[in-house]
């Protein structure tokens, strides 16, 4: 089973019930095709980077699920038919994903507050800087920076000469 992510952009003025009904339908289609929905991530109304069908705003929903190609076909078919959907896009995130493991991971990460995340990350990073890079590289790394600074300082002068 693969892990997929589908972005759905609704028209911003769609009624909430209609949106919910459609998302429920999508979820049932995924499960009918032997897939598992992991989560619906609603981004809410956002400004579009460019107008789509003369609309400047859209309601973004990200759907994370596991399934096979048949599930994608079924989901995309109904998305294509619905005129209130401005755009959708499906991306394969991983192959051979285990939906149960992903769900468990998600609930555990939701329980642990976000504050806990930066602390281990920073220590890992420090360790990574020392051990991850070859010693030669760590010595070398500051050098280009210094050189870059000197060069930027001199750049205007030489540019003037040219």
């Amino acid at each position: 089973m693969n892990r997929y992510e589908t972005f759905i952009i609704f028209e911003a003025d769609i009624a909430e019930e209609d949106r919910k009904a459609l998302l429920d339908r999508v979820e049932s289609l995924v499960s009918d095709n032997g897939g598992t929905t992991i989560l619906f991530d609603e981004w809410g109304t956002r400004k579009l980077a460019y107008p789509i069908r003369k609309k400047n705003q859209g309601y973004y929903v990200r759907m994370d699920y596991c399934g096979r190609g048949t599930a994608i076909e079924a989901v995309e078919r109904i998305l294509r038919q619905d005129t209130r959907i401005l755009r959708f896009m499906t991306v394969r995130m991983a192959t051979d994903a285990d939906p149960e493991a992903l769900k468990a991971e998600l609930t555990s990460s939701a329980q642990e507050p976000a504050a806990e995340e930066p602390a281990p990350a920073s220590t890992e990073d420090g360790a990574g800087d020392i051990s991850g890079e070859a010693p030669g590289e760590t010595v070398e790394a500051p050098a280009p920076d210094d050189a870059a600074e000197n060069e930027t300082a001199e750049e205007p002068q030489s540019a003037g000469k040219e």
Partner: protein, 81 residues
């Protein structure tokens, strides 16, 4: 000849931002990160300018194109400017 020597002198070593900072992810869901790698006109900045390494540039281009598709980044220009 003199010019050639000068050029070598102020050649600036560019470092791939994504190699330097492993926490910085290339993801089409984060248009704010990708934004630094496109011009005001919405073009993808070549790696000879941005200094991104080949591997990350490939990844970056893919994610920018994805972000464009779902209207998180513009295909062309910024209408406001």
């Amino acid at each position: 000849m003199a010019v050639m020597n000068k050029r070598r002198f102020f050649h600036r070593r560019k470092v791939c931002r994504f190699c330097a900072d492993s926490k910085l992810r290339i993801d089409y869901k984060e248009p704010n990160t990708l934004k630094y790698f496109i011009t005001e006109r919405g073009k993808i900045i070549p790696r000879r300018i941005s200094g991104t390494c080949a591997r990350h540039q490939r990844h970056l281009a893919l994610e920018i194109k994805r972000a464009r598709k779902i209207a998180l980044l513009p295909y062309v220009g910024n209408y406001e400017q």
